[in-house]
């Protein structure tokens, strides 16, 4: 079946049935995942899924429906449901659909080699990865290793004459291990996720990192409740930055549910913090030629030296704010109307190596695992559970577990006083190690 023609035909069908504006979004996805444990296959999962979402606007009222059954009767019934549902919702002149505009060319979204690589090779990689991660004698158990891949084709058509499609894909490797010592169990996990198979991190690296993360946390000691510096490793600094990103969501801002609602062009964070959102980075995990409703993606600066420069919008929120869509309409699956989210986030690197940051810390906590809500997007306050290492006199002393860290928006975001030079360009959220001068740490 020609999906491009199908989506265009279904847009006409929506109009024929009474919609004033209509959008049809079709997603066709294929998944494969292999899990191995204790040197044997544990699970092989394989699937295709395909479905269509209908967004209709009837007299400025919005209705949405979806189905994954492509029989004519079901498609017709689903369209009718969307139109019926539109009658329930409130008229809103901001319910608009984008025009065709152009394409942004984005390189490296699909690796045609992935499907050509044999199942045996993929399974053997997962087996080898587990074996390597178990090599260290401190590692006692495996919680499994795995290989996964996915490719997705998207087709969008709307009644403004927009008709676009693209194909993307990716693959990943992951492993989890356990270090069991007396009554203690410590787990470590690492992964690599890439657009291209050849770009996957080496098995040795992934294995080594997972094993290290498990054994290095053995024999933790407790510390007193106190105020001290907190260093967020790159893996967890993304949680802090993620809270800022959530607060820059244009719709959240319009609703007053963001702590940055009144902060445009105001300084809310340290000079060291600049944040860009880039949907066009070649091979980027969150790159795409256009967003979830067909608007071309861009590269934009959201925060510059601690000052809010831009919010991000989809078509609806942009219209409400009296501006243009920034190409940030998100679409999880075909089952929901467009939301709002960023693409590849980057916080440009600072001047110090992570080692230098530790050495410059008289007393503090190096966090390598963060749980809980993190930065609250409504209030800006930070609160979470933390694990990591205790630092005194610029040196790591011992692992620590079961701690809490907290601070107000002011204290945490303006208190960022050192930024690392370590950026892992293969993530969708690229943030370096960073240090907050002082936070409240809860211990015994």
């Amino acid at each position: 079946m020609n999906y491009k023609e199908l989506t265009k035909k279904l847009v006409r069908e929506c109009l024929n049935r009474g919609a004033d504006k209509a959008e049809v979004y079709l997603q066709n996805a294929r998944n494969l995942s292999v899990s191995v444990r204790n040197n044997d296959i544990e699970k092989i999962e394989e699937a295709d899924s395909i479905g269509i979402g209908f967004r209709v606007i009837v007299g400025n009222r919005l209705g949405f429906s979806h189905c994954n059954d492509f029989s004519d009767k079901s498609l017709q019934d689903t369209i009718k449901r969307a139109i019926d549902f539109a009658k329930l919702t409130t008229s809103d002149e901001n319910n608009l659909l984008p025009a065709q505009e152009g394409y942004t060319e984005v390189e490296g979204l699909y690796d045609p080699e992935i499907v050509k690589i044999s199942m045996d090779k993929k399974i053997n990689m997962a087996l080898e990865l587990e074996k390597l991660a178990m090599k260290d004698e401190r590692i006692t158990d495996s919680s499994g290793s795995g290989y996964g891949e996915r490719d997705t084709e998207v087709f969008i058509a709307n009644s403004n004459g927009l008709s676009k499609s693209y194909k993307s894909g990716g693959c990943s490797l992951s492993v989890g291990v356990v270090a069991h010592k007396g009554d203690q169990r410590s787990s470590g996990y690492d992964w690599s996720s890439r657009r291209f198979f050849a770009d996957l991190d080496s098995l040795e690296n992934i294995a080594k990192n997972a094993a290290r993360r498990a054994y290095e946390m053995l024999d933790p000691k407790s510390i007193q409740t106190q105020r001290a510096s907190v260093i967020f490793e790159d893996r967890v600094s993304s949680r802090l930055i993620g809270g800022i990103i959530g607060a820059l969501n244009g719709l959240r801002v319009l609703r007053g549910a963001s702590f940055l609602s009144d902060s445009m062009n105001k300084k809310f964070a340290s000079d060291l913090i600049t944040i860009t959102d880039d949907g066009t980075r070649p091979k980027g995990l969150a790159s795409a030629p256009f967003d979830g409703e067909g608007v071309p993606t861009k590269k934009r600066t959201l925060v510059e030296n601690g000052v809010v420069k831009n919010f991000y919008y989809n078509t609806y929120a942009a219209s409400r704010a009296g501006t243009e869509s920034t190409g940030n309409a998100s679409r999880g699956r075909y089952t929901s109307p467009p939301g709002i989210s960023t693409h590849n986030i980057l916080v440009p690197a600072g001047k110090h190596t992570p080692k230098q940051i530790i050495e410059a810390t008289n007393k503090g906590l190096l966090v390598n695992s963060l749980t809980g809500s993190g930065l609250n997007t409504t209030t800006g306050d930070f609160s979470g559970g933390a694990e990591g290492f205790w630092i005194e006199n610029g040196k790591i002393q011992h692992p620590v577990r079961g701690l809490t860290i907290a601070g107000s928006a002011e204290e945490v975001l303006k208190g960022i006083d050192m930024l690392g030079d370590d950026l892992d360009m293969n993530r969708s959220m690229i943030t370096p190690t960073l240090r907050v001068k002082e936070m409240q740490i809860g211990g015994v």
Binding site: I41, L62, T78, F85, T89, D120, Q226, F382, M439
Partner: protein, 512 residues
């Protein structure tokens, strides 16, 4: 646990991938079951149609076991859902969804093969069975199709007003009422976000043990969020109610009462100060607070990590793991509750399972695979988010059994600590047992009295410590509803507890 060397697999990679690639392209040309399923909802015949009859499913199971294996099952599902959103007093979207498909699974030793299809034709099911069958390598004698027989199961879900007979305006009416009640509560309520969701999930389950089952489960969820804003601070308050029920759920659940509760939280918390930090005694109010033991104790008692020998409670069966006053139960049979399931998604009847009794570990929650691996009975906890996911051990309605202490006495006998009135979300690492929680609404306890509100408190600790340190259990058992995420799958659950006190939890706040 299997430690044997990997045998030479002769999966033809082209064939494997070809099989998987074809699925999507054929979907469009196949007939639909929808009309049959819709008529099922109207109370005629369960799941008619070519691919859910016993003889077809029997063939699919035989195909799945063609290369060997110990167990195979087919799960066919149709889900019709409605979701209406109201934000800032306007109806922003209405989403109507139809999702259907089938998953075929093969278990061979410790291995699982799984494939699913969005299409429920015989051809697609046979293809899924073939893909799933590749995991089995132990060969087999010629499999003859087994006879499927409809099994008897009790139902714990009653419906008086079927959801598909309710006009959509009745749904939006409830939302308007909640919105108005919240805005009327206080001028500091800046806006509301109200979400109505319902679904009817029809399922057919058949397996190589000859089991055949079909039923449908309605589910409603109603969520009220209110934003309090005094020009200086903001706080989002929340109330959620959910039952496996027809529309008569709203005879018991009042949108106005929910809105007032959420609005009260929003307004009261605007005056909250910073939370203290450090280890202290915590009194947890009855109801949704049960999510703490759901995470901290429930997840580590799910048998998958126990079977792997890596779960925090591995090897502790029959041993004392908690305080004497602590009894915890998972019960999938409480009439119409959100976590109630009649039978799990593998067909095992729902049960009341005592997990920890007076501090002694009595049992784990199993699915077919982990029960086999541990040589234990199936407990009715094999649940799956949809046909796109494999069953894994999950909780249903999980709660701390009520005790004898009076809630007021528990607070009065706590000299200094934190009173947690409402929790947000949390998580646990089931291997290390380390958990964390965010408090939505909490108060300082001083000299046995609940005093000023504090915001942003986080609770952390280890599951072993928490169950040992519970020293008071109230007589006021109540429940709350939520979503539980595990291994990329979401399950609808209820949690519950009476008011309890836990000695010495690490509380995170920004105040020294």
């Amino acid at each position: 646990m299997s430690n044997k060397k990997l045998s030479k697999r002769n999966i033809s990679r082209r064939k494997f991938l070809d099989l998987s690639m074809k699925g999507g392209l054929l979907v469009a040309a196949t007939p639909t079951l929808l009309s049959g399923l819709v008529s099922f909802k109207e109370g005629t015949k369960p799941m008619p149609g070519i691919a859910t009859d016993k003889s077809t499913l029997s063939k699919v199971i035989a195909k799945a076991l063609e290369r060997g294996g110990d167990f195979a099952d087919v799960y066919v599902e149709n889900r019709i859902s409605r979701e209406i959103s109201m934000e800032e007093s306007i109806f922003t979207s209405g989403v109507y969804g139809i999702r259907q498909g089938a998953g075929v699974r093969v278990i061979c030793g410790d291995k699982t093969g799984f494939a699913y299809s969005d299409d429920i034709s015989e051809k697609s099911l046979m293809r899924a069975a073939e893909v799933a069958s590749y995991v089995a390598r132990n060969g087999s004698d010629k499999i003859t199709p087994i006879d499927l027989a409809t099994a008897e199961r009790k139902s714990y879900v009653t419906v008086k007003q079927p959801l598909d007979e309710i006009a959509d305006e009745k749904r939006t009416e409830l939302m308007k009422r909640a919105d108005q009640a919240a805005l009327d509560y206080d001028s500091k309520i800046r806006m509301t976000e109200i979400n109505y969701y319902d679904q009817v999930r029809s399922r057919v389950i058949a397996n190589s043990e000859g089991l055949y089952l079909s039923d449908e489960l309605p589910l409603i969820m109603f969520i009220v969020n209110t934003l309090g804003d005094d020009g200086n601070r903001r706080h989002m308050g929340r109330q959620r109610e959910s039952y496996h029920s027809g529309f008569e759920m709203f005879d018991k659940v009042s949108p106005e009462a929910m809105a007032k509760k959420a609005a009260r939280e929003s307004v009261d918390m605007l005056d909250a100060g910073d939370s203290p930090a450090g280890t202290m005694d915590v009194v947890m109010e009855n109801g949704w607070g049960g999510v703490l033991v759901h995470e901290a104790v429930g997840h580590p008692l799910e048998a998958d990590n126990i079977a792997k020998g890596i779960g925090a409670f591995t090897g502790k069966l029959g041993k004392k793991v908690a305080a004497e006053c602590f009894t915890m139960v998972d019960d999938g049979t409480i009439p119409n509750y959100r976590g109630t399931i009649n039978y799990d998604d593998e067909g095992t009847p729902a049960r009341k399972n005592v997990l920890i009794e007076n501090g002694v570990l009595k049992g784990y929650m199993t699915d077919v695979l982990s029960a086999k691996q541990l040589d234990m009975k199936r407990t009715g906890n094999g649940r799956r988010e949809s046909y796109r996911h494999i069953p894994i051990p999950r909780m249903t309605n999980t709660f701390i059994q009520k005790g004898t202490d009076k809630p007021d006495d528990i607070v009065a006998s706590t000299e200094k600590g934190l009173y947690v009135q409402s929790l947000g979300g949390g998580s646990v690492n089931p291997i290390t047992g380390q958990f964390n929680f965010t408090c939505r609404e909490s108060y300082i306890i001083e000299n046995g009295k609940k005093t000023k509100p504090v915001r942003g408190a986080t609770l952390v600790g280890s599951c072993m410590d928490i169950v040992s340190n519970i020293d008071a259990v109230g007589d006021d058992l109540d429940f709350g509803v939520g979503f539980c995420g595990k291994a990329g799958q979401t399950a609808e659950v209820t949690v519950g507890q009476p008011t309890v006190r836990i000695r010495g939890i690490n509380v995170g706040g920004s105040r020294a």
